[in-house]
């Protein structure tokens, strides 16, 4: 029999539910014990046969009060669009979970979470865990525009469950909802009046670079979840390298100490051929 305890070996899952999140984002729900046991920040390699295999953050969804695994995908290029269009009953292949996870220091009292786009998948999971552990967590959720705000319902429910109201804030680039401007600007405006012990961030790299800078300015440790082109996810192809680190194996989450060493962070990444490309702000 195939060895199903080795999570690097491809396994198939049947899609149980598809949730419309925004006009361009859907959550694909399926059963997988290994994913359910994953920690916020870990990711799966998702095979959309015969189109592509893509890294996707592992999410958790409750369906009829049972926990299921999920990925939340924004339709973009060929691969993500093929995944986006998958329907209930379809088979997808997965392997993983891969990567490390956000670390929560013992006795942490409060934390600021700053996420954008599908970067909210791990952050909302982390947010939920922190609230569950009675840690004062504040979440900044960014999107380009109102329609693209992700997980608003989920977060509102979380707040209600925890009798909180004001610890989640929204920002949109076009000002159609919440704060008018970037998540980083919003974070800055919060930090001037309130002290946090740690910041967690996941989203566009330049946004995370902004958070890193805020961290330095306000002397707050930061953990950021990085994205690089991933082929193998198992530390052999080198395609995900950033300086001397492999995002798939050493990351995806790096802390301030590491981020400081990573001169390529927010500066350059490698394309599919391995050539350096540069972030433009």
């Amino acid at each position: 029999m195939a060895d199903h305890t080795n999570t690097d070996i491809l396994r198939f899952v049947r899609i149980k539910k598809v949730i419309e999140e925004t006009p361009t984002i859907r959550t694909i729900v399926f059963e997988d014990e290994y994913s359910i046991a994953s920690m916020p920040g870990q990711f799966l390699m998702v095979w959309i046969p015969p189109i592509e295999e893509l890294p996707m953050s592992v999410g958790i969804e409750n369906v009829e009060s049972c926990k299921f695994a999920a990925v939340t995908v924004r339709k973009y290029g060929i691969g993500s669009t093929a995944l986006y269009h998958k329907q209930v009953g379809d088979l997808i292949g997965i392997r993983g979970p891969y990567g490390n996870c956000f670390s929560v220091p013992e006795n942490l009292r409060n934390a600021l979470l700053i996420g954008g786009g599908t970067g909210l998948v791990p952050l909302v999971r982390l947010f939920s865990n922190l609230l569950h552990d009675q840690i004062q967590a504040s979440l900044i959720m960014g999107a380009r525009t109102k329609d693209e705000i992700l997980f608003e319902h989920k977060v509102q429910e979380l707040l209600a469950d925890n009798n909180l109201s004001d610890t989640a804030a929204f920002s949109t680039d076009d000002g159609t909802y919440g704060f008018n401007g970037s998540t980083v600007d919003l974070a800055e405006s919060i930090l001037v009046s309130k002290k946090f012990e740690i910041m967690y961030t996941c989203g566009p790299e330049l946004m995370m670079k902004g958070v890193q800078k805020l961290g330095e300015r306000f002397s707050i440790p930061v953990e950021a979840s990085l994205e690089r082109y991933m082929k193998c996810a198992i530390g052999i192809c080198g395609s995900c390298c950033i300086n001397d680190k492999l995002v798939c194996r050493d990351g995806t989450i790096f802390d301030s100490m590491n981020l400081k060493q990573l001169t390529e962070f927010g500066f350059s990444y490698r394309d599919k051929s391995g050539r350096p490309s540069y972030f433009v702000s």
Binding site: G79, C241, S273
Partner: protein, 308 residues
């Protein structure tokens, strides 16, 4: 860490190059970044082979490019993705400590002429010509199966560099011994054996070949007994150094290659399973074995099986 990888019991020479130990990272593993080369070296590797570099950048195949199997083995069809020789020349321009072998791939002698000429100026220790990539058309194995082409490619490389040129062979459609003979006659300073073997994984759930290229190359433990045989045959026949490659997972495997006749060995797949610390643990294992058995140097083991 330091102790093992620096012990002079592990020192050796291949084709005039001195290595601190025989454990070399195989081509295609993490092989595109200078920063990573340095890390691998610091983790204990005796030398590092780059990803196979072509004249122009190559994107490679779409994902899935790697299938993990039971048995510590992979099938991959990355498709020789690489930044191209000019970008890679820049990449390694800062190298000053890593014993780096640049792997080259191309479809005709002029490709190799251009690339060897360029990298001859880099601080690298030698070249490995990949004649054996089993899954990319018009590169690698298709070239390696044509003796005339092998001859002119090796000659083109040799006449444009003063550094040693190794030729990497595989289990293809032509006789391994014949093609190696051709390469050696044309001036190759050594042979690396073997590359991955054409293989495939098909899903019984959806009938799809899993790799986007359908066919890929098998590496890891599964191919070790085949690679050992190739090294044995090649090293019995030829006097140039043979670098063993294919399925080295631990120090026992590494020693088996050397006893079979390899002057040193490369590994890749096992690093995927066990991480970069594998270089150090293999070197430690070898050192412990040498001490226990009373040998002065790992060199004493090379080809010890030949007399049986």
């Amino acid at each position: 860490m330091g102790l093992e990888i620096e012990s002079n019991m592990l020192n050796l020479e291949i084709a005039g190059i001195s290595l601190r130990n025989p454990a070399i990272l195989a081509s295609g593993f993490l092989g595109i970044s200078q920063a990573i080369f340095e890390r691998i070296f610091d983790e204990g590797a005796g030398a590092v082979v780059s990803k196979s570099i072509s004249k122009y950048p190559m994107e490679g195949f779409r994902n899935p490019t790697v299938v993990v199997l039971e048995n510590k083995s992979y099938i991959n069809a990355v498709g020789l993705s690489n930044p191209g020789h000019e970008s890679f020349y820049e990449e390694v321009s800062t190298n000053d400590k890593v014993p780096l072998i640049v792997s080259l791939v191309g479809s005709d002698p002029s490709d190799f002429e251009v690339m060897t000429k360029k990298f001859n100026k880099s601080r690298i220790i030698g070249f490995e010509i990949n004649l054996s990539c089993p899954h990319v058309q018009k590169l690698g194995m298709e070239v390696g199966d044509d003796p005339q082409m092998v001859k002119s490619i090796v000659k083109a490389a040799k006449s444009n560099t003063t550094k040693p040129v190794f030729v990497k062979v595989g289990i293809g459609n032509t006789n391994l011994i014949d093609i190696s003979q051709t390469a050696i006659n044309a001036g190759a300073d050594g042979i690396t054996a073997i590359n991955t073997i054409r293989a495939m994984k098909i899903s019984i759930d959806n009938f799809n070949p899993i790799l986007s290229n359908k066919i890929g190359g098998l590496s890891g433990s599964s191919i070790k007994p085949i690679a050992i045989r190739c090294v044995y045959e090649l090293s019995k026949k030829f006097s140039v150094p043979i670098i063993g490659c294919g399925g080295v997972s631990n120090w026992e495997d590494a020693l088996e290659f050397m006893i079979a006749g390899a002057t040193s060995f490369q590994l890749g797949t096992a690093m995927g399973f066990d991480g970069m610390s594998i270089f150090n643990s293999i070197n430690s294992g070898i050192l412990k074995y040498l001490k226990k058995k009373g040998y002065q140097s790992v060199k004493e083991l090379i080809g010890r099986s030949h007399k049986y």
